[in-house]
Each structure stands twice: as C-alpha cells, then as structure tokens.
Symmetry: C2
Subunit: 206 residues, 2 copies
C-alpha cells in the first residue's frame, strides 16, 4: 500500500489561522515560481502572502524548507494508483499520468526550484510518493501470482526517464514514449526469464 501520510513539519488546525497562513504562503510560492522576474526569498514570499516575514521564518526557517514543504504537499496524494487488472496496464496508466503531471510548467518550476535549494530534503519532497505508488503496483502483480520486476529496476526504467526528460531536457513527454518505457521494461523481464545465458542478474523479484 502506498503511504498516504506525508511528513508534516508544523502542526496546523484545519481551518484555523495556522492553516490559512500555510495556504497563503504556499500559494505565494506557487505564484512567484511562475513569475520568472521575481526573486524567491522569504521577505518577497511573505509580502505577497500578506503575512509578516518573521511568521514565515519562525514556521519554515529557510526558503529551502519552505519549498520542500510546498513540494511535499503538492506531490502527496496527487496520483491515484491505477488498477487496470494487468501490470502493463497499470504501469502504462501510471507512466502517462506522471508524464502529464511533469509536463505542467508549474510542476516543473516547483521541482526545479526545490531541487535547487533543498538538497536531500528537497529531492525527497520532489519524489513525493512515487516509489510507494510503484511498489503498490508491483505488489498487486505479485498478489496475482505473477513474476514482476524489482522496484529498483522499475524505478530505473520508468521513473528515471520521466524525471530526466522533464527536468534536464526540453523534449516532450508524450504518452507514446511513456508506453514504450513500459514495453522495454516488460520485454526486458521476459527476455531475461527465457534466456538462460543472459548476463544480467537479480532481474526478477524473489
């Protein structure tokens, strides 16, 4: 099962002042990210959100932590784990949903900015629940009594190209290309299962 909870650094009562401040500050970050001319600093964010800079400093500490919080909230619970009845169908749906998400300029700006300032913490926030979602898909295939690729292999074959293409290139993330990633992963697995002289090891999950 995918984890549906995300680390929440600060307590907030839903609907309370704390929640309203958080929503306003998150929205200000998102607005500023789409405006290339703006600097992303705590005073600028605070001013746009209509709160005191000290409130933002007290709650998030630094722009890196604030961006990681926005990214964590953005990339949690956003993609539903598909259940199409087959591993291929699930992975195709998942890959094309993620491709669509990463194509969104707002998403991409948030990922890039968070990576840029957030170090390890920012990187983890940008991944969000992606690994857990993939794991849920793979575990469902295992429950069907079928062999399935490992999580590491699936990450290398599906998640990595999607993120690399979005963040490092300006090539389009089309559904057709995303489906091809799935085909390659699955034909790779089949080839390994039927080719005893294959040089690759630890391909299949135990």
């Amino acid at each position: 099962m995918p984890a549906t909870t995300s680390p929440q650094r600060t307590e907030s009562r839903p609907g309370g002042r704390s929640a309203r401040v958080r929503a306003a500050v998150h929205q200000a970050v998102k607005d500023l990210l789409t405006d290339e001319a703006s600097e992303l600093t705590i005073p600028v964010v605070a001013s746009r959100a209509g709160v005191h800079a000290t409130t933002v400093y007290r709650r998030w500490g630094s722009i890196a932590e604030l961006l990681a919080d926005v990214a964590t909230s953005r990339f949690s619970g956003d993609i539903v784990v598909p259940d199409t009845g087959t591993l291929r169908g699930d992975l195709e749906r998942y890959a094309s949903d993620l491709a669509k998400d990463l194509c969104d300029p707002d998403t991409l700006a948030l990922v890039r900015a968070t990576i840029g300032t957030g170090g390890e913490q920012g990187a983890a926030a940008c991944r969000g629940e992606r690994q857990q979602q993939l794991e849920a898909i793979l575990e469902r295939e295992q429950a069907r009594g079928r062999e399935r690729p490992t999580l590491e292999r699936t990450t290398d074959a599906i998640l990595a190209p999607l993120y690399y293409r979005a963040v490092f290139t300006n090539e389009p993330l089309t559904s057709g290309w995303a489906y091809d990633l799935v085909s390659h992963l699955l034909s790779d697995e089949n080839g390994a299962a039927t080719a005893p002289d294959s040089a690759s090891d630890s391909l299949l999950a135990d």
Copy 2:
C-alpha cells in the same frame, strides 16, 4: 564525434584580465556552493572573487546565467569517450565514469543549483556533452557494422537513471549498478532482435 566546443557567451583573451576575472568568479561560485550557509547572489559571489559586483552583472547578467556558464565549463570536455573495442565495454566505462562524477558532492551541488535557477538553459548546461558522447559511442558501434540501440533508448536506459539517482535520491551510484544498466539495455536490444512477437517498436537504429 562529440562537440568539443561549448557556447561561450563572452570573449576572453587567455591569460588576460578577462580570463582572470572569469576564473576568480567561477572559483567563488564553486566555493560558495560547498558552503551551505552562504547565499548564492551576485554581490556575495563578487565579494568573494574580489571583483566589483557591476563587473559580474555586466558580464553574466544574472545568477542563473552565471551558474549556467560555470556548469557549461565544468561539464565540457571532462569525460573522455572510451574506446574499448566493444559497445558493452564502452558503455560500461562511460556509465561508471559518469557515476563517479555525479557522486562528487561538488558536482552534485553545482547540478542542483544550476537546475534550480537556470531553467532550460541551466538544464542544458548540466547535461553538457553527455548526449554527444553517447552518440559517438553508438556511431562507433555502427561503424563496426553492428546493430546498436538508438540514442533516445540509450539516454533513457543509461543517462536518465544515473542523473535521477544522483539528483533525486540518496542511493549510491555504484559501478555494479551502472554495469547492470548497460546489461539491461543490451539484453533488451537482443531480446527485441530475436523476438518477432515483441510488442515494442522502433527499438533498433536504422
């Protein structure tokens, strides 16, 4: 052949004042990137490099352009295209050299910061000559009269997992794992070449 020239936004006479300023400013950026407490702004960079901030603004315009210039210079001509006699050998050498490079905390800090501020231009600067190097390896295999994967497929199977793991996770980039990426790519190609019922298309270069 890999391109050995990189876009040079400003003219500089080797050894002249212009070259010395560029070297000092680049070094200041690298130093500041390793110091997490420092802010990376043009005034801070200029002060550390011992030059006027206006000199830096006039030459680079923004911190994003400056970072992209540092990244372009850092990721040009740094990895020699291997020539081991086989495609597998070349790709293994290449992948493990790149894994080693991306493991360097200084490299990673530069990539993350450049991605964070540089948009498309920064992303291109971080890739550097990687695609051209892979293309040179693939073209050499073609010159040997052998079938080889496409550049797109090789990018998805080798470059993407290396960059994704380095930038988005804190898992180690080991040589063994890098070799496995090559094995998967090549067994995938062989599987497709011998399996007429493969669902994947356009696997092999024409």
